[in-house]
């Protein structure tokens, strides 16, 4: 008899699911954490909807940090940012494996399918974060605020924020996640926070008077720097996938 726990697609939701699995002393071999809706129903399975619970989620993450260490907790959290629907189950079974044997080195056991899945997800998300740190482009608005729009596959703008806060402490900037309707806001000389907001509301605001000039300088710079006899568009596409380009100054027409 399989227990299927249906959790909300958020860090809190999935961690609550893990908490309940332990609270109700469910057997890990028979338990599956599913994200989102019920989908195709499975015979001989019991479905339970899990309500996200902040306290429960907090207790889980605290235990993980305490027993398994900061770096394992970080890897698990990173994997949970991805858009893969099996992430909840993979993380749950990895936690089970780790807590059973108190393995702080659980992420090295790549023979295990669940551990490997968590590893692949955290690597994929980590790569996307690293790409966006470079590919994100700010535009200066009339009032001096720097505004950037991205559309990442995983939910990562909260991982971009600390980097830019450290880099531009004296700037007012915002980073919009167009896909999810979230915005990171950083007022000058302060910390950053996340709020809901549509990217469209920034599209209508005028850019500063210098903006177009600087953009044209950069576009020209990028065009000039290529060595014609080494031209290789497919290599360029490998390194810089097409999906990033609509948001990058030098590729906009």
């Amino acid at each position: 008899m399989t227990n299927i726990l249906i959790c909300e697609d958020s860090l809190t939701g999935i961690l609550t699911g893990i908490y309940r699995a332990y609270e109700w002393k469910l057997k890990p071999e028979d338990t599956v954490i599913q994200i989102g809706e019920e989908g195709n129903l499975v015979l001989f399975a019991e479905y339970t909807h899990i309500e996200p619970d902040e306290d429960a989620a907090f207790k889980v993450i605290r235990s993980i940090k305490r027993i398994l260490g900061e770096s394992v907790a970080y890897d698990l959290e990173t994997a949970l940012l991805s858009d893969d629907m099996t992430k909840g189950n993979a993380v749950y079974h990895t936690v089970v494996l780790a807590l059973n044997d108190k393995k702080t080195r659980v992420m090295e056991c790549l023979q295990n399918d669940y551990v490997r899945k968590v590893f692949e997800l955290s690597r994929r998300v980590g790569n996307e974060i690293h790409h966006l740190l470079g590919f994100l482009r700010f535009e200066e608005l009339e009032n001096g605020v720097l505004c950037a729009v991205v559309s990442p596959k995983s939910n990562i703008i909260t991982r971009l924020a600390p980097h830019f806060t450290d880099r531009f402490p004296l700037e007012n900037f915002v980073i919009c996640d167009e896909k999810r309707g979230l915005v990171v806001v950083h007022p000058k000389k302060q910390g950053w926070f996340v709020t809901e907001g549509a990217a469209e509301m920034f599209a209508t605001i005028d850019r500063s008077s210098k903006e177009e000039y600087i953009q044209s300088l950069f576009k020209h710079f990028v065009d000039t720097i290529a060595i014609e006899s080494r031209r290789n568009e497919s290599l360029q596409r490998n390194m810089l996938p097409l999906r990033f380009r609509p948001y990058m100054t030098e590729f906009k027409c």
Partner: protein, 442 residues
């Protein structure tokens, strides 16, 4: 020589001329130093380096790569800015450089500045101008991002010392692998003028590290280290000579990186080779592969090439080539061999080797596990055993394995799939490969 007054050239024009003039310098990484921002400046630095864009030739754009000026008193034959070329000459002012850097940096277009230069009046005169610009950028504009400055051969010690405290990386180009090559193509540059500042920077870095141990907040001298660049294919050196030069640069001068730049025909000159096939990209690729083998895989230059085999194999990468010539070292047992030996197996890189060594602590590994870990089994299977057994029954014989490896084509970053044509003869004893026997040894 066309001479336009500065006021007639806009910043856009200058940017075009001075970017175009700087583009053959490939040392454009932003890695090597980790620095947090201070709360009253702009910028920080990431040790891994960040690629902000990629140009149409596929190379990373990470820094604002420009020349301070393209005027030059030297006449190096391979350089587009050589004295005897008739091109428009111009310079940036320090303010223009600072404005460009800051405006690009704020919009996250770049990680920092890469500043090289032609030579006005003398090396020291030019380097002093560069110093003024960098000083302004660091102090007046409070820029804390990455700065990479090219030192001109023959710069005096004092200037090297002063500039080194402001920048993250400083480098001097070797230009040609040997002194003879340098004399032929760049007679104004002398080898000792290149090696002396390199040595000085090396000593400065070492001394600074000692000072930092004693006093944590001592100002840092060239924290991201030194690099250099060699032109490949302009003169007749063999790959063996080049790789030896690189090895001694890493060992004796403690350089962080050596860069290899395939010779691009920009000038007509009787001393320059004509390259009907375009720049020697495959050769450059092989050199980078050999460079990585020396830095990360523990290979020595003498293991990869020798006097008898002075050039790289066009069909196989250097690691594969080494493995085929040293079959007595194989097969390697995955569950017991030391990491240094596992890394030498074709198809297993540094990351996979590390993962194997960590994973095998938690249980014996089999071929299925290796595939999941990310090993390229199509190449590695000829060289490894898991628990004593090879994946398929194969002969450890150079010709047999070579033929099979040729069918697993190497992914080259440019359009050359390696096909060449050979005249078939009736006397060919060995025909093209057939699938190896799928026969698990019992």
């Amino acid at each position: 020589m066309e001479y336009l007054a500065d006021s007639k050239l806009s910043v856009m024009d200058k940017l075009e001329i001075l970017t175009d003039a700087a583009k053959y310098d490939v040392a454009c990484t932003s890695s090597g130093t980790e620095r947090k921002g201070s709360s009253n400046g702009i910028g920080n630095s990431k040790a891994c380096g960040i690629c902000h864009s990629f140009s149409a030739d596929g190379r990373c754009i990470s820094l604002l790569k420009i020349l301070f000026t393209n005027e030059c008193i030297y006449d190096c034959k391979y350089c587009i800015n050589r004295k005897s070329n008739d091109v428009v000459r111009t310079s940036f002012t320090p303010d223009e450089i600072c404005e460009l850097t800051i405006e690009f940096y704020r919009r996250n277009y770049i990680e920092g500045l890469f500043l090289s230069s032609g030579i006005i009046k003398s090396p020291d005169y030019t380097m002093e101008l560069i110093y003024t610009a960098i000083y302004k950028l660091r102090t007046e504009y409070r820029f804390e991002g990455y700065i990479h400055v090219k030192a001109i051969p023959g710069t005096s010690q004092l200037l090297i010392d002063q500039i080194g405290l402001l920048v993250d990386r400083m480098s001097i180009n070797l230009e040609l692998p040997t002194a003879e090559g340098l004399k032929k193509l760049a007679p104004n540059k002398h080898r000792k003028n290149i090696l002396a500042p390199m040595r000085q920077i090396q000593n400065g870095i070492r001394q600074n590290k000692n000072e930092l141990v004693l006093f944590n907040h001592a100002p840092k001298f060239v924290p991201a280290g030194q690099s250099t660049q060699m032109i490949i294919g302009a003169t007749g050196e063999t790959d063996y000579q080049i790789v030896n030069v690189a090895e001694s640069l890493y060992k004796k001068f403690e350089l962080k990186r050596v860069f290899y730049s395939a010779f691009v025909q920009v000038n007509e000159d009787k001393d320059l080779p004509s390259l009907p096939g375009g720049p020697p990209l495959l050769r450059e690729h092989r050199l980078y592969q050999a460079d990585f083998l020396m830095r990360f895989y523990g290979f020595e230059a003498g293991e990869l090439l020798s006097e008898e085999r002075p050039n790289f194999n066009t069909f196989f990468d250097p690691k594969c080539d080494w493995a085929l010539r040293h079959l007595e070292q194989f097969p390697v047992e995955i569950n017991r061999a030391p990491m240094e030996m596992i890394m030498r197996v074709p198809g297993i890189g540094v990351k996979s080797a590390r993962r194997i060594v960590l994973a095998r602590r938690n249980g014996k590994l089999d071929f299925e596990d290796l595939k999941k870990i990310g090993v390229v089994l199509k190449r590695a299977l000829y060289f490894i055993t898991c628990n004593g057994k090879m994946m398929y029954r194969t002969k450890l014989e150079e010709d047999y394995i070579s033929r099979n490896l040729l069918t697993v084509k190497e992914k080259l970053p440019f359009n050359w799939d390696g096909t060449t044509y050979e005249q078939i003869s009736l006397f060919d004893a060995n025909m093209p490969s057939i699938q190896p026997e799928i026969f698990r040894a019992m």
